[in-house]
């Protein structure tokens, strides 16, 4: 069993525990040594799949420590500890994994505190990690992630916040009261991933038609299609083609 990337050697128990878990395989359904790139050996072993489940130890390096200290000071140590269970520093970028109940407290402090000043919400988007979000057996795995990229124009810094929710309870507080630019971006995340942003002024679809069913960028959304006959051969619809599974 290979997960995203080849982790079969790393944690054999996981592979067995995930029958039909929907892990993607290589383009040819090759398991194990189907790697042509040489990068197969560089895949970092993460028990959660694509989501890093570890937490980086301090010091984080660069300005990340200053930001974290200022954030702890702004919201208080107890709140910070409750709000941010994990921090990951990777490829020169810092990610704060945030508990949704504390999201608004955190972004308010991030925007208004003089030592933080993250005035600009550069980007807000959803990611569906499906079975990469945790063990497949857990019914309440938080597969839907909302990712916030904040920019401090004053200090020229960037950080990332990430809130993870389950598909059964996809509620996240809206940050539109703090960052009005989140309006359309939250509508897009609702449209594409079905994340409900509580407190959004008008959470409606934005890119898909108003009467569309489902949320197309979820990983389990069917690709659909019909078989097409061409020159006496039949081309199967996208979701049944071997390379797409």
């Amino acid at each position: 069993m290979t997960g995203p990337g080849d982790r079969s050697g790393a944690d054999p128990s996981r592979g067995v525990a995930a029958p039909g878990g929907g892990f993607r395989k290589g383009a040819f359904g090759v398991t194990g040594s189907g790697d042509t790139s040489g990068f197969g050996g560089l895949v970092r072993v993460e028990p959660g799949g694509a989501v890093a489940l570890h937490s980086t130890e301090r010091p984080y390096g660069g300005y990340f420590d200053e930001v974290t200290d200022a954030l702890v000071e702004a919201v208080g140590e107890a709140t910070y500890a409750a709000a941010v269970p994990r921090v990951v520093v990777d490829r020169g970028e810092i990610t704060y994994f945030v508990v949704r109940e504390h999201l608004l407290t955190l972004v308010r402090a991030l925007r208004d505190d003089e030592a933080l000043r993250f005035e600009l919400l550069s980007s807000l988007s959803g990611v569906d990690y499906l079975d990469s979000g945790g063990p497949v057996s857990a019914p309440d795995r938080p597969r839907l992630h909302v990712v916030y990229h904040l920019t401090s124009m004053t200090y020229r810094r960037r950080i990332r916040l990430e809130v993870a929710v389950t598909a059964e309870d996809p509620h996240v507080p809206s940050v539109t009261p703090v960052y009005p630019t989140a309006d359309w971006q939250e509508r897009e995340a609702w449209d594409m991933f079905g994340v409900v942003f509580d407190g959004h002024p008008a959470l409606t679809r934005i890119l898909m038609p108003d009467d569309w069913d489902g949320h197309p960028q979820r990983k389990d959304y069917p690709l659909g299609g019909v078989p097409v006959e061409y020159h006496d051969a039949t081309i199967p619809p996208p979701d049944t083609r071997r390379s797409y599974r």
Binding site: V43, A50, R91, S122, Y179, T181, M208
Partner: protein, 443 residues
């Protein structure tokens, strides 16, 4: 006008039938259709677009009017949604370039550069110096082409049609250069993860230099045609006002933000591809209106020409793709009689000499390379503002998620703030000054 049915007059307004009252739309019969009671307010809802020559593409506006004053402006987008983000999840990392280049079709090379920089950051590699310089070169050429279209459509929407014809004429000169370099006018797929599809062709540098000698006079013509013209000034000045607070709150970047006086340009504040080594200015204006945005774009055309000149001067011979044959596509593309394709030497090698080379070529092209798991966010300064790529890899040969923070999408949110309370004619000026590209907005 006659209001009852008159058999002798087929153009009568309305008549009673057994099915109820039937109206014939002939005009001038409003007192019949709506009754004669007085209305509380003169409210008129006007739908504009999505097929409208002045909405800058398939953008739909729903405007509430009182007289000529806009009381509410609602924007409807999504008519050009093509699911590109989702599509990239089913293609290899290299094929992703050909998809993202079609998003913001006026600045395709910025999409490619942003995407490739994100993939390279995930891989932990960097393109060779010559590739980086050529990337800067083609991106700045692209910025000029994009700004020329912005000015051209701006002119068209304001009624200055000569501005449009001139803008598109000048832009075609730039597209000719891009076609010579990449093989295509648009949707180039020229910048690839790890470098470029191919090196500059022979003669391209000379042609760019020739163009650099012609272009300043053409920019001066634009100033003669539009900048000094009183009608142009009156249409643009004070139209679509949005100050720096509004811009930052609404996430507006690019020329619109710089027209409020804030010199926020990612090429300066967070340099990438060696922009810190180029000598150029960040033009700003302090008017916060459509006029300022026009001036900023005009000045940026000049600055881009300066950057192009410096890039040409520092071009050194060298590779344009990373050495790692596990990422770089095995072929050296060349232009044959039937278009661009693999070089004959490479085809002869894989078909006649080396089975391993054939397997390697086949696997790399069909399956692609793996990218270590993780996520990155890479912003670049596109002609319209911050173009951000949030790319997630699960360690596979295809992206797990590619999210594009497109400046057109975010900037269009400013429509209401810019137009409500103003005149309906200024709505056009406000939207044209945002320069949205719906292909990027709807993706």
């Amino acid at each position: 006008m006659s209001t009852t049915y008159n058999p002798a007059d087929p153009y009568a307004g309305s008549r009673e039938t057994t099915e109820g009252r039937v109206y014939t739309v002939t005009g001038g019969d409003w007192d019949q259709t709506l009754g004669t009671e007085a209305y509380g307010e003169e409210r008129l809802v006007v739908n504009m677009g999505p097929q409208h020559p002045s909405t800058h593409g398939v953008l739909r506006l729903v405007l509430d009017l009182e007289g000529e004053t806009v009381t509410k402006a609602r924007v409807v987008v999504g008519y050009l949604h093509t699911g590109i983000e989702k599509n990239t999840e089913y293609r290899t990392w290299t094929q992703g370039t050909t998809f993202v280049t079609r998003m913001d079709y006026l600045s395709p090379l910025y999409n490619e550069a942003g995407y490739c920089l994100a993939v390279e950051k995930l891989l932990g590699i960097e393109a060779p110096p010559r590739a980086q310089t050529i990337r800067v070169l083609v991106m700045e050429l692209n910025r000029i082409a994009s700004h020329l279209v912005a000015l051209a459509t701006f002119g068209m929407e304001m009624g200055a049609l000569t501005g449009m014809t001139n803008g598109f004429r000048e832009r075609e000169m730039v597209l000719d250069l891009l076609e010579e370099i990449t093989g295509l006018r648009m949707n180039h797929a020229y910048i690839r993860p790890g470098g470029l599809a191919q090196d500059l062709p022979e003669g391209a540098v000379e042609h760019i230099r020739e163009w650099l000698e012609v272009m300043p006079a053409r920019v001066a013509d634009f100033h003669k045609l539009l900048t000094g013209q009183p009608i142009w000034q009156n249409r643009l000045k004070d139209a679509g006002y949005l100050d720096v607070t509004g811009c930052v709150a609404l996430g507006i970047t690019g020329p619109v933000l710089r027209a409020t006086g804030l010199p926020w340009d990612l090429r300066k504040v967070e340099p990438y591809l060696g922009y810190e080594t180029y000598d150029f200015e960040v033009p700003t204006a302090d008017t916060c209106d459509a006029w300022g945005r026009y001036l900023v774009r005009m000045a940026e055309v000049n600055e881009s020409m300066r950057i192009i000149e410096q890039a040409l001067d520092r071009l050194e011979p060298g590779p344009v793709m990373v050495e790692d044959r596990k990422i770089a596509w095995p072929a050296q593309l060349s232009l044959g009689p039937d278009g661009m394709g693999n070089s004959p030497a490479h085809v002869a090698h894989i078909m006649g000499q080396s089975m391993e080379a054939l397997i390697h070529h086949f696997k790399l092209v069909t399956e692609g390379f793996r990218v270590p798991a993780g996520q990155v966010y890479v912003p670049v300064e596109s002609p319209r503002g911050e173009l951000g790529y949030h790319v997630v890899s699960d360690g596979g040969t295809r992206p797990w998620r590619v999210h594009v923070r497109d400046p057109s999408f975010v900037n269009l949110q400013a429509t209401a703030a810019m137009s409500e309370g103003g005149m309906i004619a200024d709505v056009i000026a406000a939207i044209a000054s945002l320069d949205p590209v719906m292909g990027g907005c709807d993706r």
